[in-house]
Subunit: 384 residues, 2 copies
């Protein structure tokens, strides 16, 4: 298979974008990525979206995306694997370019979540869980992650403060990100005393409801070099699943899909966790970032909490995690999140991340997760 | 890229399957395909579904599919492009096997449409159209195809009887298909006098609301030969889009996405329309089959109606179309339809189609369409 590179990225500020429609947000962002890449004709496009049906009453958004982007007739594919839909769009675009089927492919993610009520949004997000055996029994998404948090605290002695420190770190990073939905700092006290959502998780432990999109243009690395572009290669790609239902897992606190997707990506890239200079990971809840760090091999199992407390995952630490602010501060338009991770990593590897810059970053990893861990996509990126 | 073959197919009888859930239908069918192929471990799976969110309150069905099939941990991908979601699942599986990334891939489609009211189903199906510019203005899916039918009648003199003859032919074929939802014959008079849905289309011009799934196992052709399997190769694959909105097209009666997807598939397979021995096409409404035949090049533009009237598309005719009974008689669980076409073609090319057998069939074509033609996937199959 051919080497593949990212040659353009695009993203606007995320938030409650009431003045823009689903297609507006998509097109605006896609055009930014195409402009950054210097291309005006695509061979193919992928769009990740978790539930444009329930949020916007609109399926068939691949056709809509191609059409409103002025690219009608190109093959266009919508993929969905809950909150990992964006990462999956990247993976399929990567396979299409690597296989030789296409050269210039736009991969993107979009979600417009504020067109419905909070109750309807909670229902829509709950469709990422096992609706029959979880949702209809009354558990919501924060409830599932609260179970994971309680188990982690009981088994490994992870403290309430350590959970809060994930939010503190990510908001500190997000305050430096002009595209973040909530670009302000928070303190451990503020997190611990914020409104309870599902014990032990408070509202400042949870990623928000967000409207937004992100896009990237990929092509063969050789072509990128000919175009005179900075070449950020995708050197590893892994995708795996786990039981959709939390109760079916051997261990509540272990993210097997993340472990397996990472193992494949590390093997393809010939890298190990210690080789990674920065990572964007799926911190939909503070406990999620702790479990993800463990499954990625950045720390031993159970040491996620102490690692955050020691500052190892801060910018300037041993392995900076979520320099963008993560889902927590940057926002979490579910289908778009996986591609926003790519935007951050590309800007970091290009040295264009401003106040959030991780010095000397040359190798980055993106981990994007669906549901309570039922699916995960991991990619590794390297600057030439 | 490697040659790819279909080595197993599975499908049960379609209809109103109230005693089975979405996952039941999926797993039952997937296991039939795996048994037919003689495999018990997958490298990857794709599932096409148009709107499990709106129909079943369940997204993230790729994780659910892998999990309940006993294949948790394999990469699993849900794709959606409205009623062409099944065909798209096949195309992406095909690219994954062709690229060398995976060997044994299960491609499938599923839709459980009767868990909601008729009004809610009409809304869900309408999300395949441009919701802002079509749906919210009051037009339903039959309404869009009725506009196409009126334009075709005005421009080419297509008659009401010719539209009805599509239904008559497909029900005649479907009466021979033990898996059809409506396996009975109808007459031109019955079609013309059935309940009006959207003038000139009556209820017997429309495909029904259906629960069902279909599945196929694909692998490298070389591996299929080693396994001693009958080798049905996928020799052509094309995918294209058009404006999602009918009013944006230059000509209401021309399906440009079908034309372009077919052109790519013919080129890849080095075939022309005259080389095809049978075709399964997207007859969501009687007028659709007429327009599709024209866009596939089976007849000149405008000659779809007279061609049906002359019996050219009947079993035993010049180019048998929809020997399975098509969407009209077999049923149309939207995401599953594209894979059911594969099931029929594989059985025809194997010579296992019973009373529906097209004599000497060695080359088949499947055309699967989303919305009012906003996306189309075409595949060509050949027996070794």
């Amino acid at each position: 298979m051919r080497d593949v590179a990212v040659i353009g990225v695009g993203m606007t500020r995320w938030g409650e974008l009431w003045e823009k429609s689903l297609r507006d947000i998509y097109v605006e962002t896609a055009l930014l990525a195409m402009e950054d890449a210097g291309v005006d004709q695509l061979d193919s496009l992928y769009v990740g979206s978790m539930s444009s049906g329930l949020f916007n009453g609109q399926e068939h958004i691949a056709s809509m995306a191609a059409d409103y982007l002025g690219q009608a007739h190109v093959p266009a594919t919508r993929v969905e694997t809950a909150c990992a839909s964006g990462g999956l769009a990247l993976r399929l675009g990567f396979l299409e370019v690597a296989s030789g089927e296409s050269d210039i492919v736009l991969v993107s993610g979009v979600e417009k979540m504020t067109d419905v009520s909070g109750d309807d949004a909670t229902f829509a997000l709950g469709t990422a869980a096992d609706q029959e055996y979880e949702g209809y029994q009354g558990i919501t998404f924060p409830g599932l992650y609260a179970l994971i948090a309680r188990a982690h605290m009981a088994e490994y002695g992870t403290t309430r403060e350590q959970l809060a420190m994930v939010a503190v770190k990510n908001h500190r990073n997000g305050a430096l990100n002009p595209r973040a939905q909530f670009p302000f700092e928070v303190t451990v006290d503020q997190v611990i005393n914020s409104v309870k959502v599902a014990d032990p998780l408070n509202i400042l432990d949870c990623s928000p409801i967000t409207d937004g999109a992100a896009a990237a243009v990929i092509c063969p690395a050789e072509k990128a070099r000919k175009l005179g572009k900075e070449v950020i290669r995708i050197t590893g790609s892994g995708h795996a699943t786990d039981s959709i239902q939390l109760a079916q897992r051997k261990k509540l606190t272990w993210l097997e899909a993340t472990y397996q997707a990472a193992r494949k990506a590390y093997a393809m890239a010939d890298k190990k966790p210690d080789d990674i200079h920065l990572a964007e990971v799926h911190d939909c809840f503070t406990i999620a970032e702790i479990c993800v760090m463990e499954a990625l091999g950045f720390v031993e199992k159970g040491w996620g909490g102490p690692s955050v407390e020691a500052g190892e995952t801060a910018i300037g630490g041993r392995i900076p995690v979520n320099p963008s602010g993560g889902l927590k501060s940057k926002g979490h338009p579910v289908g778009a999140t996986g591609i926003a991770q790519v935007v951050e990593i590309v800007e970091q590897l290009r040295g264009e991340a401003g106040g959030r810059q991780v010095e000397g970053a040359r190798i980055g990893l993106a981990q994007n997760m669906g549901g309570s861990g039922g699916s995960t996509v991991v990619h590794i990126f390297e600057r030439d």
